[in-house]
Amino acid sequence: MKQHTLSVLVENRAGVLSRVAAMFSRRGFNIESLAVGTCEEPDMSRITIVVNGDDGVVEQMMKQTNKLIDVIKVSDLTARESVERELALIKVAAETGPARAEILQIADIFRAQVVDVGAKTLVLQVTGDISKIDALETLLRQYGIKELVRTGKIALLRGPKTVKSSK
């Protein structure tokens, strides 16, 4: 079992996300994370799906996804040079005192930004690959994470290559 990042270009239409998600669910494919949003073409969206599976299973996932009429193109970015990023917002307990200073120090090391300061909490924003966010989360847990939200991974190929409509 290996982690794969699939980039899926779809028609920007009502119900497309539910078609993709429902197909994964009914065929028993597990989604680790999923991020969807508009892209360079106004009438298309790009979905980035992180999945676990051996090569045969991932091949099936890609073929079945590709069969959906509203899906324009599916690419597996895993074996290719790509930039992968995720963003997380973390609300951490930070009473004034040494804990708060430590948290700010950790945030600095991770190049996380403080986007909200409260009397008892800080909200940090961090971007990076999945393991970096995991690491920050682990470090902050000792202070008490009140709330956490992650966007799911998004990815693009490096260099001039693109995942474009060619189907």
Binding site: S18, R26, E59, K67, I69
Partner: protein, 558 residues
């Protein structure tokens, strides 16, 4: 200006629709009002499920897209089993459903159901039309998607305000459909085709395993030519029956759970398996690891997702079966020497014939054999699901494609009678016979009403054993004969038929079978035959679930 309903009817006419199977209701009133004086024939069924099956039967018998129509909510929901049936067997159907007005969508309005959500996993694609301006395009796309590539059902949901609102008439409709997310590939890759030919030239024990894809692509002539040119024996799936003549010397009949011994042995022994328009279904392969264990596998299918789904293949060829077979025939330079292999298969055929007790009792297999002997391939046989289906598959000799109509993938009991109605409208020139069990016929028996109303000359052959026979067979073999809820009380089907105004005959003796079949076929209108057959007859041979397909029980040896 014209209404959305008018636009819909015109769009259907442009697609060549001549028949719609449907059932009216509140939100489809505007559509029904347009149908009232339209050239499109509408057949009023007695339950929406039957409308979907009839559209499916129409499609299977004709090769054209079948169309059904139902109202919102319960009407649409009743179509679902029929849509799923068509989906599993890749049958081109367009299902039209009414929907509550767009302003009420999502409000739990009267007779609202999210039918596009409900049918998402059982349609090739579906549409909710929210703007009448999209209607022409959507109908055109729906038919295009349904019939091209790997065919399948497409649902179009039509809110009432869309069908009542006015649209400018005289708009132009594009000649061709272009969908950037849907471009099926018809031509097989030449390099892959040559790889397959190389394997064929070297194979000593090649076997063709042909399925519904060969029928759907209209490739029967090519398949037969390929079988004969390459001298390669052929076995078909349940869905592939009729793709090659069942009485051809190189045809081994059906393979799989209730396959012939010769077919299943040939799969196990072959060194090259040419899988043509098939999907390696579990009812065919048995234990997948031991399916064709000694063979290199070539898989021809139009759906790339079928390749490698269940079984690893050596040479995948993505393309339309007909086009790929034509390319194979065109490029074939050398064929292997299969004489010894064919001789071996002929030995199996002689040694392990199909059979049942030769006595005076009324065996269901005998009924099917007699039917086959009377019709001699000149008819369309529809079946229900269960023992009736398997006996028909085994004992009827199918010689032409699209003369065998059965629910293979979903295994839908109650499919046969409505599908037979659809088949009649597709091929009014052909006798249509539904072979049923007493269990399945009662699942859509209300369609006797439709048959009677339109005097549809469908003949219904009920193999009545007063059991849910296939389940009883499994209980006998694997559950210590504990017949849990599989016994059915006797039903006088002739009386039921008569109540609808349909003729019928009950047959209890073997020597009454032939005459009864001839009487039914000679009758101008519909006819119901109630054969009181041996109650505990089993379908043999049989591969127990999970066993290798050469590990059959109930085998006979000459």
């Amino acid at each position: 200006m014209k209404t959305g309903a008018r636009t819909l009817i015109e769009a259907l006419q442009r697609e060549g629709v001549d028949t719609i199977f449907g059932y009216p209701g509140g939100v489809v009133l505007p559509i029904y009002d347009e149908l009232y004086d339209s050239s499109i024939r509408h057949i009023l069924v007695r339950h929406e499920q039957a409308a979907a099956h009839a559209a499916d039967g129409y499609a299977r018998a004709s090769g054209r897209v079948g169309v059904c129509l139902a109202t919102s909510g319960p009407g649409a929901c009743n179509l679902v089993t029929g849509i799923a049936t068509a989906y599993m067997d890749s049958i081109p159907v367009v299902a039209l459903t009414g929907q509550v007005p767009t302003g009420l969508l999502g409000n739990d309005a009267f007779q609202e159901s999210d039918i596009t959500g409900i049918t998402m996993p059982v349609t090739k694609h579906n549409y909710l039309v929210k703007d009448v301006a999209d209607l022409d395009r959507v109908v055109q796309e729906a038919f295009y998607i349904a019939r091209t590539g790997r065919p399948g059902p497409v649902l179009v949901d039509l809110p009432k305000d869309v069908t009542t609102s006015q649209v400018k008439s005289g708009g132009t409709v594009p000649k061709t459909v272009s969908l950037r997310g849907y471009q099926p590939n018809y031509e097989g890759h030449v390099r892959q085709i040559d790889k397959a030919l190389d394997l064929i030239a070297r194979a000593e024990r090649p076997l063709i395993y042909a399925g519904g894809g060969a029928v759907l692509s209209g490739a029967s002539a090519e398949l037969l030519e390929f079988v004969e040119t390459a001298a390669i024996p052929v076995t078909t799936t349940l869905m592939g029956l009729g793709a090659v003549p069942g009485d051809h010397p190189l045809c081994l009949g059906m393979l799989g759970m209730h396959g012939t011994q010769s077919a299943n042995y040939a799969v196990t022994e072959c060194d090259l398996l040419l899988a043509v328009g098939v999907r390696f279904d579990d009812r065919v392969t048995g234990k997948i690891e031991t399916f064709a264990p000694n063979a290199a596998i070539v898989h021809i299918d139009i759906d790339p997702a079928e390749i490698g789904k269940n079984k690893k293949v050596d040479v995948p060829i993505v393309g339309d079966v007909k086009a790929v077979l034509q390319a194979l025939l065109r490029r074939m330079k050398k064929r292997g020497d299969t004489a010894n292999w064919v001789a071996r298969i002929n030995n199996w055929k002689a040694q392990y014939p199909l059979g049942y007790s030769d006595d005076d009792r009324l065996h269901p297999q005998y009924v099917v054999e007699q039917l086959s002997d009377v019709l001699k391939g000149e008819g369309i046989i529809v079946s229900e699901v269960g023992q009736n289906q398997m006996w028909t598959a085994l004992y009827y000799t199918f010689t032409k494609p699209r003369t065998w109509i059965t629910s293979g993938g979903l295994g839908t009991m109650g499919y046969g009678l409505p599908a037979a109605i659809g088949a009649h409208y597709a091929r009014p020139d052909m006798p249509v016979v539904d072979v049923a069990g007493d269990g399945s016929i009662q699942m859509n028996i209300q369609e006797f009403g439709t048959v009677a109303q339109y005097d549809i000359p469908v003949k219904v052959v009920i193999l009545n054993n007063m059991y849910l026979g296939m389940v009883r067979q499994w209980q006998e073999l694997f559950y210590d004969r504990r017949y849990s809820y599989t016994e059915l009380p006797p039903v006088d089907f002739v009386k039921i038929a008569n109540a609808y105004g349909i003729e019928g005959l009950k047959v209890e003796e073997k020597d009454g079978v032939r005459g009864a079949i001839e009487t039914a076929l000679a009758a101008d209108g519909p006819f119901v035959l109630d054969f009181r057959v041996e109650r505990e007859e089993n379908v043999f041979p049989m591969v127990p679930a999970g066993a290798a397909i050469n590990e059959m029980i109930g085998v006979r040896q000459r």
